[in-house]
């Protein structure tokens, strides 16, 4: 149980760290990384919660996998926007 708690706290800490970064940082790439840290935090919480009973809960795992897919595609899209936006700014200069 303590192990579950440890991962839970760690996940929440990552989530808070990511949220803080998303709010406070300005460079697009850093903000994208922040969102990913947030995501990892949530997924860690979910994986930890899956072990709250003796048998690991497969539903939670399925949810995490789905979440990962969403996160990856969103990150790709965000990177594309960030890079093109950066380039157009350089062009203007």
């Amino acid at each position: 149980m303590t192990q579950v708690l440890f991962y839970l706290i760690l996940g929440v800490a990552l989530w808070v760290l990511g949220l803080h970064g998303l709010i406070r940082l300005h460079q697009p790439i850093r903000r994208i990384i922040s969102v990913n840290i947030m995501g990892s935090g949530v997924f860690m919480v979910m994986v930890a919660l899956a072990r709250r009973s003796e048998d690991p809960d497969p539903v939670m795992h399925a949810l995490v996998v789905t979440g990962l897919v969403v996160a990856i595609s969103a990150t790709a899209f965000a990177l594309r926007l960030a890079v093109t936006g950066q380039r157009s700014e350089e062009d203007r200069e």
Partner: protein, 474 residues
């Protein structure tokens, strides 16, 4: 249920088809949009005659299944979405000034409609997360169609939207960890007002508020909506922000423990009043036309938030009707307003409010559409906005201890009148009118007028509509 499923699948397959065929055909989308509308209407008829229905995807048993649920209000939202989508599609295909004609607008808008319809139909917490993400990605891509200048606001929108989803998701994870279910109907029977439930609901609420641009988490909206192409702004303001609002409503009116709802309600209602005032104030101050319209969205969502908050606090199902009337009236009026604003600024070649001097002479129809839509936002009788306001005012004035909330409505009305007539009064200026760059496009102007007339026309069906909404919501 078949009809509802068709309303979900037609736009989805249209989007995929367009991508696979490398086609960007507007007329095709209009045709499929018509089909979606027909399917949605059919679903509405079905649900009115034979009651709510649900469908377990893949025939999985109860706790594991993903359940689609067709309620009366869902069916109404399906029809509403299809109507707005069709209207905007006709505009996008036909207007001379619309810069989205041969672009990715077509598949993306279909994807947007598909994900929104999936959102209306879903009824479990995680499925909503997925549909929210789909909706967000499609919306951001649509904003980015404006070109590189819009990439900044689009990226900001995307990141905040992702962040908001993760806030929501953490709440969902806590709920699942506590109760082991995701389906909202199952959840409703189990929730208790303990500490972890409270935290989970607040997290979900915060995430959804950020997604719906509800005050004080609205800062991303004006830039994103104002920098998008006209057709997209109309879709975003009229439809997309209503998605998270719908989830919020289902969460709090069905799943949340009553004590928790009573306790959280006032906070939301106060945020609603603040949105009305501060959003309205920003709309009064901004020099840009589309920003003004976008800020007015922030302000008007305040009404909906107020209705939701008070609904939770007083546990009054009568306010459901007010909430959904606001959503319908605002969606129609805002679509009209954004189309009119887009036409006006494209024809005049300036994005400033001050460029509208004398437009009642040069572009009477577009300006009239703007004013008529504005009338509904102010809540002038007998428009749809008025009906909603009336439904909200009635329980407020009914008991003397609720009277203080009336001040919010009063100030909100005056401030919306302020920003609407700020534009309308300028349009009557004949001293030095701004000459238009192009010949006005009459058809597009009438298209902008259409939803504004519909929102005033709600007066003709007001009584059955209100009765239906009061009876339709659980």
């Amino acid at each position: 249920m078949t009809a509802a499923l068709a309303a979900l699948l037609i736009p989805l397959f249209t989007a995929l088809g367009l991508l696979l065929l490398r086609s960007r055909s507007g007329p095709l989308v209009i045709l499929t949009s018509l089909a979606t509308l027909a399917a949605a209407c059919w679903a509405l008829v079905e649900v009115t005659t034979s009651g709510p229905q649900s469908l377990h995807l893949g025939d999985w048993p109860e706790p594991l299944a993903i359940r689609f649920q067709l309620q009366p209000i869902t069916a109404l939202l399906l029809v509403f979405t299809a109507l707005i989508h069709l209207l905007v599609a006709v505009y996008a295909a036909r207007s001379r000034h619309c810069r989205t004609r041969d672009t990715d607008y077509w598949p993306l808008s279909c994807l947007l409609q598909g994900s929104l319809n999936a959102l209306w139909l879903s009824s479990d917490l995680f499925n909503w997360y997925v549909t929210l993400e789909l909706l967000g990605l499609a919306a951001v891509a649509l904003v980015a169609l404006s070109g590189r200048k819009a990439y900044g606001p689009a990226l900001n929108y995307l990141l905040l939207s992702l962040g908001a989803s993760l806030v929501y998701l953490l709440g969902v994870a806590l709920i699942y960890g506590r109760y082991g279910v995701l389906d909202i109907t199952l959840l409703a029977t189990q929730t208790e007002a303990d500490q972890s439930t409270r935290v989970a609901f607040w997290l979900m609420t915060l995430g959804l508020m950020l997604k719906a641009a509800l005050w004080p988490l609205h800062l991303w909206l004006p830039k994103a909506h104002a920098s998008a192409p006209t057709a997209v702004s109309a879709l975003l303001s009229a439809l997309v922000v209503k998605g998270p609002l719908f989830i919020l409503w289902r969460l709090w009116s069905e799943a949340a423990p009553v004590e928790l709802a009573i306790e959280t309600g006032p906070l939301l209602a106060i945020a609603g009043v603040a949105a009305l005032l501060l959003g309205g104030w920003s709309a009064l101050r901004t020099p840009w036309l589309k920003s003004l319209v976008a800020y007015s969205t922030v302000a008007q969502l305040g009404y909906a938030l107020m209705a939701l908050g008070l609904l939770m606090h007083w546990q009054l199902p009568a306010l459901d009707a007010a909430l959904w009337l606001f959503v319908l009236a605002h969606g129609l009026a805002k679509a009209s307003m954004f189309l009119a604003a887009g036409e006006l600024q494209a024809t005049l070649g300036s994005k400033r409010v001050s460029a509208l001097r004398g437009t009642t002479e040069t572009m009477p129809v577009a300006m009239f559409a703007f004013a008529v839509a504005g009338g509904s936002l102010i809540g002038l009788p007998p428009s749809g906005g008025f009906l909603a306001k009336w439904m909200l005012l009635e329980p407020m004035l009914g008991q003397s201890e609720h009277w203080p909330w009336v001040a919010g409505i009063l100030l909100g009305t005056l401030i919306s009148a302020g920003y609407v007539f700020r534009v309308v009064a300028l349009a009557f200026d004949r001293a030095d009118p701004v000459p238009p760059d192009f010949k006005p496009d009459r058809f597009a102007h009438w298209l902008a007028m259409l939803p504004a007339l519909v929102v005033w026309g709600l007066a003709l069906v007001s009584q059955p509509l209100i009765a239906w909404l009061t009876g339709a919501t659980p």
